[in-house]
């Protein structure tokens, strides 16, 4: 069995007892116009800034505002060769909660996977209590990212904010890397700064929730 050094997987505790798979795969769900594609690109940029390989691409549907859109991001220590869509994500980001009971957003999620849903409501309130049974409870979070983004950029555009939350939840990229990527990607300083602030806020929010979870179980 080939042994590979794998900082990311070990840190996240994803490496099983057997084969070490370094790759971290993310799937992002949303609707056309919500920046789902940009989110994947930003995540890949963040990983790149940390010296890792990252591949981001959308599922190419009929481009139309409001239609369900999916994008993917793979992160690995070594070159990523595969080109198929992410069918077994390590992490899911759901930018639009109205997709939850319409599209199979959770399909293929790994048992110890992470889920971050943009919503002011909890998993229970979203009608997902039953579904969470098979997964690691502390890795499933909702965060009011749209409200956070509206506060900082004046629009309900939670894509960048959610990445701040992702960084806190999974540690697959650091908040700094996410902020660096945001600074690179948005040419308007106002938008870059606003999105960065939203990402920071979301990051804090998720961290606080996770700490709350920890103390609740202590």
């Amino acid at each position: 069995m080939t042994e590979r050094r794998c900082g990311v997987s070990r840190m996240l505790g994803l490496a099983g007892s057997g084969e070490v798979n370094c790759m971290f795969q993310v799937r992002i769900h949303g609707r056309g116009g919500q920046g789902v594609v940009t989110a994947a690109e930003l995540l890949s940029l963040a990983a790149f800034h940390e010296g890792r390989h990252a591949q981001a691409f959308p599922s190419f549907g009929s481009e139309r505002t409001g239609a369900p859109v999916v994008s993917f991001c793979r992160i690995d220590e070594r070159e990523i060769r595969t080109r198929e869509p992410v069918s077994e994500p390590d992490a899911l980001i759901v930018q639009d909660a109205t997709l939850l009971h319409q599209v199979d957003v959770f399909g293929g999620l790994r048992a110890d996977g992470y889920v971050l849903i943009n919503s002011p409501r909890s998993f229970d309130e979203l009608g997902l209590a039953e579904w969470t049974q098979g997964f690691r409870h502390e890795r499933l979070l909702t965060v009011p990212a749209a409200e956070i983004s509206r506060e900082h950029i004046g629009q309900m555009r939670p894509n960048a904010a959610l990445l701040g939350g992702m960084a806190a939840l999974t540690g697959v990229v650091s908040l700094d890397a996410v902020l660096h990527a945001i600074g690179d990607r948005f040419s308007s300083k106002k938008l870059a700064d606003g999105n960065a602030a939203a990402a920071r806020d979301c990051h804090e929010h998720v961290l606080a929730h996770m700490q709350g979870e920890v103390s609740a179980h202590a």
Partner: protein, 423 residues
């Protein structure tokens, strides 16, 4: 310089470094980002001297390219799918006249049915038009191969198309080493035309040639393509020296040394194939892959050498010769000796049609396929992941009634597709 960016943008920046002088272009998904990026560079002055010509169609694009190239300008354009078909007549003109136009084809399926996603039916439909065809596996390879394309085209006086999988590569964000202007200039000198429309030294280009010499003109074109077989290797070697990274040349072998089963494929699917091979190798299967980079001219000798020791070959193709089967497989069979196979040639050449219209080719499907192939439990022609039930249902409809209505609509209704594309 190592950057994380979209494939189309990487190609646009590389093409700009090649100092094109005329870019006649018409947009079409999924190449639009390439020509848009180039037009922005021309507009803001970062790409100069260069004339970007907005034309009314792809046919116009290639026609303008022919005119520009004939006056000695380094000329570039890009297209895909229906756009490539629309310029078909002009493609034959460009190659017939020996004009070194370079074009990116962002591989996309040909309609009907209308489909914007990736497969190789577009470039395969033009495999005999006289253009050199190079297929790339990654965005890094796309960048490097465009440099080679300009150099090759101008050295041979033949047009070259660089085929990269639409969306899969063009719209993928990944890291790429972009060459510097110095590196490009050291590899690609100024264009020295073999023929030139110049009022000071008038010539005509585009003679009508009757039976007395047509065959000879065509034969010369064939000879030139065959010259590319040696030249591609040489130029790839030189490029490797300039860029400091290996270049594949005509084809690439992956874990073929002791392989009993060898997969042959073109383009980005090779990445997924390599992953599947690594996984299968862990289970003890002796499997490898050959990635064909130059499809026209077809590297017969190199393919024969790469496949010679295998017991069986599996050709995974993203296009289909309706009524016959595989396209690449036919050329592979020629390389293996055709009806009179060379000694020791693989006993079986399996054709697998996959990825049509953008259907994802998964490592899981490939592993199952290769396990079947390895035990020779495979039909000569297979359609990977075909939904037999769906086809049967429609065939049953055709048997039951004359006025079935359009097949495509019926099948979409059957599978309940309403909105966006495949996930």
């Amino acid at each position: 310089m190592l950057e994380q960016l979209e494939g189309s943008r990487a190609v646009a920046r590389t093409v700009a470094l090649c100092r094109p002088e005329v870019i006649p272009a018409y947009p079409i998904s999924p190449q639009t980002h390439i020509v848009e990026a180039l037009s922005a560079m021309v507009k803001d002055g970062s790409l100069t001297p260069c004339e970007f010509v907005n034309v009314e169609s792809e046919y116009a694009a290639m026609s303008v390219a022919i005119g520009a190239s004939a006056t000695g300008a380094r000329t570039y354009t890009a297209t895909a799918s229906q756009g490539l078909l629309y310029m078909a007549e002009a493609l034959y003109n460009a190659s017939g006249l020996g004009l070194p136009v370079v074009m990116t084809v962002a591989n996309r399926a040909i309609g009907a049915p209308i489909n914007i996603w990736n497969d190789h039916s577009d470039s395969m439909s033009q495999r005999d038009c006289g253009w050199i065809q190079l297929y790339v596996e990654s965005n890094q390879e796309a960048v490097d191969t465009h440099l080679l394309a300009f150099r090759l085209a101008e050295q041979l006086s033949l047009p070259v198309m660089v085929c990269m999988d639409g969306f899969i590569l063009t719209h993928a964000y990944e890291q790429v080493h972009l060459p510097s202007q110095e590196q490009v200039d050291s590899y690609l000198p100024a264009y020295e035309p073999r023929q030139l429309l110049d009022p000071d030294e008038p010539v005509t280009i585009g003679a009508m040639v009757g039976p007395e010499a047509f065959t000879e003109v065509k034969y010369l074109a064939h000879v030139k393509q065959m010259q590319a077989l040696d030249l591609i290797g040489q130029l790839a070697g030189e490029l490797a020296g300039v860029l400091g990274r290996a270049q594949d040349g005509l084809l690439r072998e992956y874990r073929c040394e002791d392989a009993e089963t060898v997969v042959v494929a073109l383009g980005s699917v090779l990445g997924t194939i390599e992953d599947a091979i690594d996984e299968l190798r862990e289970t003890g299967m002796k499997v490898g892959a050959v990635g064909i980079k130059a499809f026209r001219p077809f590297p017969v000798a190199e393919v024969r050498a790469a496949l010679g020791h295998a017991a069986r070959v599996v050709v995974v193709e993203k296009a289909l010769a309706l009524g016959v089967g595989g396209i690449v497989s036919q050329d592979v069979r020629i390389a293996l000796g055709g009806a009179n196979p060379v000694a020791g040639a693989p006993a079986h050449v399996y054709t697998v049609i996959a990825g049509l219209g953008g259907r994802p080719i998964t490592a899981a499907s490939l592993r199952t396929l290769l396990r079947d192939a390895d035990s020779d439990n495979l039909e000569p022609l297979t359609f990977l992941d075909l939904n037999h039930e769906l086809v049967e249902r429609e065939l049953a409809r055709t048997r039951a009634t004359r006025r079935t209505g359009p097949h495509a609509e019926n099948m979409l209704r059957d599978i309940g597709v309403v909105a966006a594309g495949p996930v």
